[in-house]
Symmetry: C2
Subunit: 407 residues, 2 copies
């Protein structure tokens, strides 16, 4: 029972009341216009068809390279199911495991030039790793002050309160290296938690972070899910390709179910950190319980690694960049010129849903974002470009945007 | 920056330093004897074979009905991959979804006579649901006092700190209904979080909890992963089969990758609670992000539902109970007579690993548990019985246990 006369402070880290109130207004309006809650079947040609025959391409999907429907990946998943004969033989991998997951992790380790351990999702990885960073068990044993970037994804922010049960937790203004350096000056051990690539565009400042690491020993944890596969010679992502070697004070997590085209997640450590890997397998929450990636996901991810090791990856990366350039040549956005495939086409709060509806009718599903999800004057259409779109379709998308009254 | 002169209390909910220190000693010793870190291939006959040819059956696996290797489930997974042509088309289901998941949820809803929503794992379900219970969004809008059973699984306890950021969190002694009733008397809104079936045996007192719900409006959240499929006419599990109807103040979560034989998890609500389902899909963390069960898991789970709807389920449930009875007739344990298939065969701290090793050499992998994981005088071998074991193998298992010096 409470043994404390001081009223505890609530909602230091999350506030569902606020989040649900804001989100509900947004989702109700989106759904009322038929732009949420869509059920449709995905055809071999990459187009969705609804029950009443409406066809559209999903430009709100993170499969930026269109690898998710690659026959080699599907065949890899099927082969693994046939070979192992189980989806999941339920036991903690600390005790007994089939060679399947080890084979995948070897393959990903060589692909990403790091020691790779897998998880069922990037958020399961964060659930396992962040509390162990906070308690010092993945660094040098001393509890660090843990600093979260203000814009870090909710899948990491969810664990702020858990980390705060172990150590001091701070929130830094977005990409504010001065704030972070101040914390480093004041505290011996600091860990920084952020997205490598933000879902609304922009990256963590990799070079400056590495400089702080060099100078102060800063521990770095990146979720770089949004850039895996689309950036880097082997698709190793923005952060991994920005650093020479993953050292023993850096962990990069990335999902395998966005551009990578399979399912699950990869956790990259320094190549010699089998001690960190073992700590995670034994004590990393969801990573320690009996819930590894299922056999189909393992087989699919293994086949995807083969594609990442082949010239086909570069072809798809280049095709994506061509589509982005085509789009940028015609539509002005704040993201213009970025390698990252998400663009927010600004429109007025009054018009944004109608433009979204017109695009949907023309066969392009994009996400309208508007108040209260963003400020009233920041409304727009979130367009996620894909490598598989024919150039003519990119042009038609631009035509459709331009024929609309945006403001 | 900290604006507080009062030193915050740490480790109110978790303590990694303690957990890792205790766990490391246990795992080091287990691994040193070759009883952890085993890599082996699973054959069609249900036996594992290591690289150097040692064959064993895994009696530390939660696939109590041996459904995990059922050809119908594997074929279901393969069929779904062929039909949908993607493992995961990455987008939040709130926006666009394929009918696959809805088909599975319809099937599970009818099987378990509740409104079912799926998740990639029971722990992802808890990550999504518990914070929304704490903030009142899955009950009547008022924040409850949240009471966790002391023995609740770590996958729920992980979210204590997150819940405590929203409301008052208490820990009740295991199954202590007096403690819980006292809290109900003092507070208008109370939610109770517990396992339906505990992994070391024993259940939540369903009847008494329902009585408290009736009297005080207590909100109940159960993780009943360990009894799904092995208990109930349709395998709906211990808690679901103990209550007439899932009402609007009860949520039951259960994994689909233990006895159920597939992968993923089911969340059961009251049949009319599509509002709760919608809240979860929009605001339930991992349930809201773009990470649903992958297509293979969906297909496997759908095929498993067909088996659960057929006479084969009862045959397997009965076969499991026969194996349990055979075991109980020869080996004395505290769990003797329970329907639940886990038995802890007590042995002295000095002998327990040697008995485990002898069993392993004879082809039975069981988990030795010993200090510091349990008290020094509580050491034993955790044996998880399975329906697929031939009776002769159960007898040979008992022979091997009995020929050993336990104390």
């Amino acid at each position: 029972m409470p043994d404390d006369l001081i009223a505890p402070r609530r909602n230091q880290f999350m506030n569902n009341e606020k989040a649900v109130a804001i989100g509900s207004r947004f989702w109700e309006e989106t759904a009322a216009h038929g732009l949420a809650g869509i059920v449709a079947s995905l055809g071999k040609d990459g187009y969705f068809t609804t029950d009443n025959g409406h066809r559209f391409v999903n430009l709100s999907c993170c499969s930026y390279l269109d690898l998710d429907s690659h026959p080699h990946i599907i065949q890899g998943a099927i082969r693994a199911l046939e070979k192992y004969g189980v989806l999941d033989h339920c036991i903690s991998r600390v005790r007994v495991q089939m060679p399947a997951l080890l084979e995948l992790e070897d393959s990903l380790s060589s692909l990403f030039r790091a020691k790779v351990v897998t998880a069922i999702s990037a958020s399961a990885a964060s659930a396992g790793i962040l509390p162990l960073i906070a308690s010092g068990h993945l660094a040098n044993g001393e509890k660090p002050v843990v600093v979260f970037d203000k814009n870090a994804h909710f899948s990491m922010n969810l664990y702020k309160a858990v980390c705060a049960d172990e150590t001091e937790v701070l929130t830094a203004p977005h990409n504010d290296m001065n704030f972070l350096e101040d914390v480093c000056k004041k505290h011996k051990n600091v860990a920084y938690i952020c997205d490598g690539t933000y879902s609304m565009g922009g990256h963590a400042p990799a070079e400056e972070l590495l400089a702080l690491q060099e100078k102060y020993g800063l521990f770095l944890y990146f979720d770089d899910s949004h850039s895996l596969s689309i950036v880097g010679e082997k698709g190793e992502g923005y952060i991994r390709s920005s650093i020479q070697e993953v050292n023993d004070r850096t962990i990069i997590v990335a999902t395998l179910n966005k551009a990578y085209g399979a399912a699950g997640a990869a956790i990259m450590f320094g190549p010699k950190r089998s001690d960190q890997a073992l700590t995670l397998e034994r004590f990393g929450g969801p990573l320690a319980w009996s819930q590894p990636m299922n056999t189909a996901a393992i087989g699919g991810a293994l086949a995807a690694a083969e594609i990442h090791n082949s010239p086909e990856l570069k072809e798809r990366q280049e095709k994506l960049q061509r589509n982005i350039k085509l789009f940028d040549a015609r539509i002005d956005t704040e993201q213009k010129g970025l390698q990252f495939p998400i663009r927010v086409v600004r429109a007025s709060h009054e018009n944004v849903i109608n433009v979204g509806l017109d695009l949907y009718r023309q066969g392009f599903y994009v996400s309208p974002v508007f108040f209260p999800i963003v400020a009233r004057d920041k409304a727009g259409l979130r367009v996620m470009l894909r490598a598989g779109m024919p150039e003519s379709e990119v042009q038609r998308l631009c035509d459709t945007i331009l024929r609309n009254k945006l403001f």
